[in-house]
């Protein structure tokens, strides 16, 4: 309440501010042209206001349930079907049965709380709880499995605590209403989830029981967020390879065993000490984190879902808390007891003692000692099955027969009164109420948004904190969807300030991961790529202030690694930008994979260009059966000998070590050619490094642009959002509509007006038919003639007018102004055009008229209504 009051106060304050602002505005309006200082002031306040607003919106009301938001007056019951408002006779009967059952139960167990059997629904009608379950299979394939189903229910509904935490609610609304308002208490949650689970084939039950405080209030602040839990690295047990028959014996171990043992002992001691300390630390932390004892522990009523093993390949019984959508084992200590449970067919009361939470419960619903059922003859016969499993088939037949007899006597559950659960695709996509949901975990906060809700495509954000009070942010993870730049996840580590962006395949620069501290070039940064999408096969590029390392894969020249060292930039006197003054390169190291086409001693494994020392070092690959590799070092200095001639190549310019000395490599010519080749390669490599630098700049620029624009892509299959396809579809529909209209037109019934003259419902005589046909035909003929005449008349009129105009022109030709003449000429051409068109139409009409006439005759002849005609002619 304290918080709430604060909030209210703040709101009021905000309102006041707002009013003040408005007044200010009004004043400034009045003053027409305000002084500069004033204006600044107003903008300042505006900014402040915005800040305030932001702050206000950030403040969250931890439990909104204090407001009785979901009462029956707020529910519109007028639109609900009849089954919601009345009870059928069968339902009445069921209620009587239930009452009877309840009476017997309270007589037999007077010390137990009354049963939760038939709460009122939204229309104030008592309904049996089992009939409130409406098994529904959802049309979304995502909701076929229990985990996604539970997650959906927990996301879709907002939790409202029970009005009285110690009693089951007096009302249990239908899922229809719950879905409409997206709010509900634990019973609403579990009813809906149970309906969906039974619909998709699970053996699920609603449970009325007792839960811990955290459970009842959906308080996850003591839970570790499932997203922060790192998947346990499965320690792969190293398969001990059996020593083969001829495995060589290891050399004899000459170390003293005693010394080893002593060493091990010492280390163990140290480790034990460390462990102890760690444990103490942990215990201390645990103590701090532990909740205050709850005064109402074990009395808080809660409802959740039980899924029994057997169906849908569920191997083991488990609970689902519908609030959070998490699953728990039936041994979990947060579930403190079960009063009763039900599905759409029956209702069971727990007759077992719950002193040890739910740990000792046995979920064998066929056992009447442990579970008292309400209706006889349901499908729960686990007990009988397990006991008579080893007896013969005949026995089973007997059991089945027995079951049948039971069924005859028994009273089965009436059909649910609730409508099928319907979730519109929009609602399904939006999921959370208003598309936003915040969950507070232990040292973490998870926010979720519906896709396309945020303009930058943000769909969820996980903030991890250092402390329990959630003040110091450790790291932030943001997930995105539908972004055009394929950004998928942004990971910001607040302590190291390291940002890591993860991309899905499809970025224009084939980015995969980009981790950086700042967007400035020539800083620490690692960029990983989808190497198959790149022509040069680059996998990763690492940068520090002075180095750049690139890793490649799958190149035709077998390059695997390139490392460049830079010197700090030389200051030039002339002003120049970074691009025109690249950092001088000190050293380039390149490594290559083995090229199987070349022999190892000719296949370079590593070459180092020491640009500053004018030295090139080569290291070759090692042959399979060797342990040393050839090496070669070239000194690139060009010198002049004593006579002033240029020395081309001398033996000391190339120092080489060869594993298997070969003759031709000793030759100066060979060495000279190799050196020339390397010089060319060096130039190329330098160019490559320079180009890589440029590319980094380009990527950074592109990233900045993308961040600024953050456009979202819309799938072409998304008919709702894709404007283009929507337009296209609408155009198609329009065309279809027009086409349809035209077809209707062509199917005009010529006979209709003539038939209307005759008395309806009578069969035509032959004479009548003939007359009808003649009339119809003559009428059509008349119409054709009329049309021809009409066209003819128009034609003549146009010609006449043209002639008149021409005459007029002839007479006044001399006096006419150029404009008039232009006017006349344009009129003439238009008139000529009209005349020509009319002429064409007339001609076409003349051609088509007989054909049309014949076609009509044919049609009439075949018309079933004038069947008489045919008979005679036939």
């Amino acid at each position: 309440m304290e918080v709430l009051r604060e909030k209210v106060e703040e709101e009021e304050e905000a309102e006041r501010e707002e009013a003040a602002k408005r007044a200010e505005w009004a004043r400034t309006e009045k003053m027409m042209r305000p002084v500069e200082v004033r204006k600044e002031e107003t903008t300042l306040t505006q900014e402040m206001l915005r800040d305030l607003e932001k702050k206000l919106s950030e403040i969250q009301i931890p439990i909104s349930a204090e407001l009785p938001a979901f009462t029956k007056d707020t529910i519109d019951i007028s639109k609900l079907p009849v089954s919601y408002k009345t009870n059928t006779p069968k339902e009445e009967h069921l209620l009587q049965v239930a009452d009877n059952f309840s009476r017997q139960y309270s007589h037999l167990c007077p010390d137990r709380v009354p049963l939760f059997l038939h709460p009122l629904n939204e229309c104030e009608v008592p309904k049996f709880v089992s009939t409130t379950l409406r098994p529904t299979l959802m049309p979304y394939p995502e909701l076929y499995n229990w985990d996604s189903c539970a997650q959906f229910v927990s996301d879709f509904l907002t939790m409202v605590p029970l009005p009285d935490p110690l009693k089951p609610p007096s009302h249990l609304y239908s899922s229809t209403t719950v879905l409409n308002y997206q709010k509900g208490n634990c019973f609403d949650f579990s009813t809906m989830l149970c309906s969906m689970l039974i619909g998709s084939g699970y053996d699920a039950y609603c449970v009325n029981g007792y839960g811990s405080l955290d459970l009842c209030h959906m308080d996850l602040t003591r839970e570790v967020c499932p997203l922060t839990v790192k998947p346990k690295e499965t320690v792969q047990k190293e398969e001990k390879v059996l020593p083969k028959k001829y495995t060589i014996r290891p050399p004899r171990d000459l170390c003293s065993r005693f010394e080893q043992e002593q060493e091990v002992k010492k280390q163990q001691e140290i480790r034990a000490q460390e462990k102890k300390q760690l444990r103490e630390e942990e215990e201390r932390l645990m103590e701090a984190e532990k909740a205050k004892p709850d005064a109402l522990h074990g009395l808080r009523v809660h409802s959740w879902v039980l899924v029994l093993s057997g169906k849908r390949e569920v191997p083991e019984n488990f609970f689902i808390d519908a609030f959070t959508g998490h699953s728990y084992s039936t041994q979990d200590e947060r579930f403190l007891g079960i009063e009763s449970l039900w599905n759409h067919k029956n209702y069971w009361i727990n007759m077992q003692d719950c002193w040890n939470c739910c740990k000792d419960l046995i979920f064998d619903l066929g056992d009447p000692v442990r579970w008292e059922y309400m209706l006889l003859g349901t499908d729960k016969s686990q007990l009988s099955l397990t006991e008579e499993d080893d007896s013969g088939i005949n026995d089973e037949d007997d059991v089945e027969n027995l079951g049948k007899e039971d069924e005859d006597k028994s009273f089965d559950m009436p059909h649910s009164w609730v409508e099928q659960i319907e979730i519109s695709p929009e609602a399904f996509e939006t999921r959370c109420p208003n598309g936003k949901k915040v969950i507070q975990y232990k040292r973490a906060k998870l926010e979720k948004w519906a896709p396309y809700l945020n303009s930058n495509g943000l769909v969820s954000r996980l903030t991890t904190y250092e402390d329990l009070e959630c003040t110091n942010i450790l790291e932030i993870k943001e997930w995105y969807q539908n972004r055009e730049d394929m950004l998928e996840l942004k990971h910001i580590n607040k302590t190291t300030d390291l940002k890591i962006d993860y991309f899905k395949p499809g970025h224009p620069q084939a980015l995969r991961v980009h981790s950086y501290k700042s967007m400035q070039p020539e800083m620490d940064r690692v960029i990983e790529f989808y190497e198959t999408a790149r022509v040069d096969g680059l996998i990763k590029r690492e940068e520090t202030a002075r180095t750049m390392t690139e890793y490649y894969q799958g190149r035709p020249d077998f390059l695997s690694y390139r490392h460049a060292n830079f010197r700090p930039r030389v200051k030039k006197l002339a002003l120049s930008s970074a691009e025109s003054n690249p950092r001088p390169i000190v050293k380039i190291t390149e490594q290559f994979f083995r090229n199987p086409a070349k022999p190892a001693e000719e296949d370079v494994a590593e070459r180092v260009f020491l640009l500053a020392e004018e030295r090139i070092q080569l290291r070759y690959h090692c042959r399979d059966d060797h342990i040393t590799a050839s090496k070669r070092e070239f000194l690139r200095r060009t010198e002049v000998d004593s006579k002033g001639n240029k020395i081309i190549m001398t033996p000391d310019m190339c120092i080489s070590f060869e594993v298997e000395p070969m003759e031709h490599t000793k030759k100066l010519l060979y060495q000279y050619e190799a050196m020339m080749h390397l010089k060319r390669e060096e130039k190329l490599s330098r160019h490559q490094v320079w180009e890589s630098e440029l590319e980094v700049l380009e990527i950074l620029k592109l990233r900045e642009e993308e961040e600024a624009a953050h456009t979202l892509t819309i799938s072409i299959y998304d008919t709702k959002r894709n404007e283009k396809s929507k337009e296209y579809r609408e155009a198609m529909e329009r065309v279809m509509h027009e086409e349809h209209l035209r077809q209707v037109e062509t199917q005009l019934d010529y006979l209709a007006p003539f038939l209307a003259q005759l008395p309806p419902g009578e069969k035509l005589t032959r004479w009548q038919a003939v007359r009808l046909k003649d009339e119809c035909l003559s009428d059509f003929k008349q119409r054709l003639i009329n049309k021809a005449n009409l066209i003819q008349a128009r034609f003549e009129k146009e010609t006449q007018e043209l002639q008149k105009k021409q005459q007029w022109y002839q007479e006044n030709q001399v006096t006419l102004t150029p404009e008039d003449e232009d006017l006349y000429l344009s009129y003439c051409s238009q008139a000529m055009f009209r005349i020509r068109i009319l002429e064409q139409r007339l001609n076409r009409h003349k051609e088509l008229a007989p054909l049309k006439y014949l076609a009509l005759e044919e049609k009439l002849y075949k018309d079933p209504r004038l069947g008489e005609l045919q008979k005679i002619f036939a």
Partner: protein, 523 residues
């Protein structure tokens, strides 16, 4: 062929000519100076051009081992010769010469482009070795038989062919015929064959081509069968039990045994022989199967052994490489430290340290190698013991099976002898019912003759069995010894090589260090 060059003096391909040509066609400018300084070895030359030189006889080319491209066009060569050593040749140009027959190309397996344009060739043959042939130029020759084309079908890679200017190109069907018989050809007489022509040609000659294909297929199948059979036999031979999976040994026993064959006409002997053969063959098959099984076992044993040895060597090499890499890292840094150091005593100290490092590395590497040698020796000895045991067991078992064969033979011999003697008695008594062939009757003269005859047959049979057994035993024993020898030798070779490698590396390192010393002292 009255060319101008005919009237000129023919020249001889001598060393001077070749040197001149190589020098002219070698590297130019700076590289050329170097080349001149050093001289070029013939075997380093990759391409050689010897055109318009009036060469009559190809000669002196044996040194050009690595030649890829050779141009000998526009000479007066009459015979293709002296090219046997140029096995790396890819391109050979012999156009505008006076060659009459194709010959001397059998070693040029890498040849892809062959030009024999404007010669006097009348028949295409002797090109079988040129499996990689892609371009063949035979224009302006005297080829007059269309069937020469069929010979070219065997060259799978042939794409370009020129035959214009031959008598056959006058034939009106020339183009169609070639297109039909060489469907993979792309260029004929320097023109691309369009698909339409190909289709037409195919349609025209379909019948004869189909027949040809059928024949070729049959040949192929027969060859394959033959190869499969050969392989099977080879496999049996490695198991040393070839020809034991049937009645081959039994048949061979009777092949050279005329008496035995004669005796088989005796009444009751044929049944006896039948039963004997069945039993004998069963034992042979037993030996055969046992042999294959043992072979499999030996193979597994050998595989495991070589795998283990390989693993051990690999592991050892990895260790060596790691050691060297560690050393090099350290060495490099200390070298650069030496370069930067200016105090002479310090330098000397550091160099000393370095050389200590080098010898330390040497010791480590040698230790590793010695360790491996010891380990391998142990393993090899174990393997040797096992394989010898296996072979011994195999021989023993085969011998016992062979002994069964011999028992059968003895048994058969006794029976035969019995029958023979009883027959002899009958003949002597004169109450023999059946008619005997004359040459058989000739044996039944007296008891000695018949016993000798039966005994001779028996001896031949035993000899055959003994021979087969001896062969098997000797061969497997020699295989075993050879295998063991080879393993030992390989190991010794490996060890020598490694030691050499280590020494070489250490020497290099040491000499590098020494050079450094000298240069520093000089400074």
């Amino acid at each position: 062929m009255n060319r101008l060059c005919d009237s000129m003096e023919p020249k001889v391909m001598d060393d001077d000519m070749l040197k001149l040509a190589v020098g002219e066609q070698g590297p130019q400018e700076e590289a050329g100076q170097l080349a001149k300084q050093e001289g070029i070895l013939f075997k380093d030359v990759l391409s050689l051009q010897l055109d318009f030189r009036n060469i009559l006889r190809i000669d002196n080319l044996w040194q050009f081992e690595n030649l890829r491209k050779l141009q000998l066009d526009n000479n007066i060569i009459e015979k293709i010769e002296g090219l046997e050593n140029l096995t790396h040749l890819v391109w050979l140009d012999l156009s505008f010469n006076n060659i009459e027959t194709i010959e001397g190309l059998d070693t040029l397996v890498n040849l892809e482009d062959l030009s024999l344009f404007n010669n006097r060739i009348s028949k295409i043959d002797s090109l079988d070795a040129l499996v990689k042939l892609q371009v063949l130029s035979l224009g302006n020759n005297q080829i007059d038989n269309m069937m020469n084309i069929v010979y070219l079908r065997r060259f799978q890679c042939l794409r370009t062919l020129s035959l214009s200017g031959n008598p056959i190109s006058e034939a009106e069907d020339y183009k169609m015929f070639i297109c039909a018989y060489l469907p993979d050809l792309v260029y004929l007489d320097f023109r691309r064959i369009d698909d339409h022509t190909k289709e037409l040609a195919e349609a025209k000659h379909q019948y004869s081509i189909d027949e040809l294909k059928h024949r070729e297929n049959l040949m192929q199948v027969r060859l394959q069968d033959e190869r499969a059979r050969q392989e099977e036999l080879e496999k049996h031979k490695t198991a040393f039990v070839e020809h034991l999976n049937g009645s081959f040994l039994f048949d061979s026993m009777y092949a050279e045994d005329s008496e035995g064959n004669k005796l088989s006409y005796l009444p009751g002997v044929s049944e006896l022989l039948e039963a004997y053969k069945d039993k004998f063959v069963i034992i042979c098959v037993n030996i055969f199967e046992y042999g294959l099984k043992q072979q499999e076992k030996r193979k597994i044993e050998l595989d495991t052994f070589s795998e283990c040895v390989h693993e051990a060597i690999q592991e050892n090499q990895e260790q060596g490489k790691r050691k060297i890499a560690q050393f090099e890292e350290k060495h490099l840094s200390s070298l650069s430290a030496i370069r930067e150091e200016s105090e002479l005593p310090n330098i000397e100290k550091m160099i000393l340290e370095c050389s200590a490092d080098v010898s330390e590395l040497f010791n480590e590497l040698m230790m590793l190698e010695m360790q491996l040698v010891e380990q391998l020796e142990e393993t090899i000895n174990m393997f040797e013991r096992n394989i010898v045991d296996m072979v011994g067991l195999f021989i023993e078992n085969v011998q016992s099976l062979m002994a069964q064969c011999r028992d059968l033979e003895n048994h058969h011999h006794e029976k035969l002898l019995e029958i023979s003697i009883s027959t002899l008695e009958k003949i002597v008594k004169g109450d023999l019912d059946e008619d005997l062939p004359d040459d058989l009757r000739a044996l039944f003269v007296d008891k000695d003759t018949i016993v000798n005859a039966v005994g001779a047959s028996h001896d031949i049979h035993l000899l055959k069995i003994d021979n087969r057994e001896d062969e098997l035993v000797t061969r497997i024993n020699s295989w075993c010894t050879r295998l063991v020898d080879k393993i030992h030798k390989d190991e010794i070779m490996r060890n020598r090589k490694r030691v050499k490698e280590i020494n070489q590396y250490i020497d290099h390192m040491q000499s590098e260090l020494d050079n450094l010393e000298y240069s520093d002292i000089l400074d």
